[in-house]
Symmetry: C2
Subunit: 338 residues, 2 copies
């Protein structure tokens, strides 16, 4: 089969690889219907994370089950399934607490920008749709594998409640879907930080009421200004840099929470400073699996359309262009069709 491999920063290739096969009896093999490029893939592509050997890329996927191991009980060949980037047994104490991405048996799923994929812990990881979905729903279902679930978790972790003022730091796909999540949670005012017209437009469509173009300390000052000097009730940090985290904390009112879902790079928090802000922090790799049943239902009913974040659709063999377009911010998010 063909699959995507990164060799070095900027060097992503589609190449012939061995077909994935069942390794342990809890695995499943799925034929990928659609995959995509994640903002976190760009950490490698841009050389922020070191690339020391060729690595199969991709961790967002929807597809049709081809084969399951002998211990797989609920997932069946022929089903259309969605899974998270962390495989999880969905039965351990961390899973039962809703933190499947901290499952005691978790495994990172990798190599999804390909024609086929091995998914570990298939019963715990995958959720099947009732029927094969209409093709036009596939982009939205694909987002549930990571970005929509991650934006949703940001809003959960920030404890967004009806009537609140929410600020979103980051106008990538996760930030935009954080806007959508905050809107579904009943936020009255949603301030998105964005300088990009197409992203501002989609943010507005998803429920943003205010746009702030300033960044860093100026951005935080602008949010304070928009909130009577107090700060937003909840802030979604969807970037992961030292600057974005500082901005998120500085934009939050005392007693409010920052839900942070951008993988932190170089973020150091001064305990004493944080203490006197009274700002709470909660985040981490989103437990996407927790939200799959609810979000699949919302997509199938047409209540949410997170698939709009894909403003570029490419055949899998143009995967390198997908990375380039996202890295150059020409595209919000690239969908790949095997």
């Amino acid at each position: 089969m063909r699959g995507t491999v990164i060799y070095a920063p900027g060097d992503v290739r589609l190449e012939d690889r061995a077909d994935p096969r069942l390794i342990v009896p809890t695995d499943a093999i799925i034929r990928i219907s659609a995959a995509c490029v994640c903002g976190s893939d760009l950490w490698d592509y841009r050389g922020v994370n070191p690339v020391t050997r060729p690595v199969p890329m991709g961790h967002e996927y929807v597809g049709v089950v081809e084969e399951v191991g002998s211990d797989v009980a609920t997932i069946k060949p022929g089903q259309f399934v969605i899974g998270s980037f962390f495989a999880s047994d969905n039965t351990c104490p961390n899973c039962r607490a809703g933190y499947q991405s901290s499952c005691v048996h978790r495994e990172l799923v990798g190599g999804a920008q390909a024609e086929a994929l091995r998914v570990p812990l298939a019963d715990g990881t995958l959720v099947a749709t009732p029927d094969l979905p209409a093709p036009e729903l596939i982009p939205s279902l694909l987002t549930l594998s990571d970005v929509m679930g991650t934006g949703w978790f940001a809003a959960v972790a920030a404890q967004v409640k009806p009537g609140q003022t929410v600020a979103v730091v980051g106008d990538g796909a996760v930030g935009l879907l954080g806007v959508l999540a905050a809107s579904r949670f009943g936020a009255e005012r949603i301030i998105v930080m964005s300088r990009h017209e197409t992203r501002q437009k989609l943010a507005t469509e998803y429920g943003a009421t205010d746009i702030v173009t300033e960044r860093g300390d100026e951005g935080a000052a602008r949010i304070k200004e928009l909130t009577g000097g107090i700060g937003a009730d909840a802030v979604l940090e969807c970037v992961g840099t030292a600057e974005s985290m500082r901005q998120a904390v500085a934009s939050t009112r005392p007693g409010g929470y920052v839900g942070y879902v951008g993988v932190p790079h170089g973020v150091r928090l001064n305990g004493e400073e944080l203490f006197f802000t009274h700002v709470g922090l909660h985040g981490g790799p989103a437990p996407v699996r927790r939200f799959l049943p609810e979000l699949i239902d919302l997509v199938l009913k047409g209540d949410i359309n997170p698939g709009k974040v894909f403003d570029l659709t490419l055949p899998l063999d143009q995967v390198a262009e997908g990375y380039r377009a996202m890295s150059e911010r020409r595209a919000i998010k690239a969908l790949l069709q095997p």
Copy 2:
């Protein structure tokens, strides 16, 4: 009047000072019935915080109102009152959100280890008891001015819920009262980290079910061991050092919260490490004012007896011995009688 002044680390003196007087019309003057030495006073006493000039000490107090300014409407001379170490207007957005210690008009109260005290923003800061309390209730009422409210906030910030397993880092008065709070909140199992027999005994009396004597990484490992490898649902960090904070985070299960109320000294958090723990953080200077009405009620009804943390009672002129005894850990907490 006589009041306590720190001149240098280890050098605390009771001396004659000017009587406090009304400065602005929202002030009140109270005659101190009892004051005490706070664990945070020891940061100065031990030279961890620099002492660059003589500073009046003490921020925990109960007393009888002597005089109020012309703008004070609800607090009256003759009332027995309790207030927080942060004066607050109790009307600004932060106060209304329950974070009075981030009041937009907040002022630190200082100089309470004395015979009399000026309390700013009297209407917002002070809460009066219905009647003059029985003398035996005064120690418990005094704890509401800081330590009991702070332990209570630690449990609130850690989101302690009925049936949970809670760990408490720190066996000072705040940690012990954090145990009491967790117990009142319905925690099923309360693990306290302590090596001191008298403190262990009081912790047990307040509801601790397990005692861990290991510290740091070993302490966290022990908590993991006691919780099936997962960690406590909620952890109360009541110390404020880099080691205690690291231990608290490492003792918490994914999705659990650390409620941190020890003023952080040298605490630096690595964003990426925190991210992958899935541990939430919330804390800060306790908004004691929020809890005063409820806690006064519990003390007056005899439902809680936080005053037991005072295992040393001294006349005010022996204030220096109070500091020494606490610094040498001969006493949990020293009550001072003017």
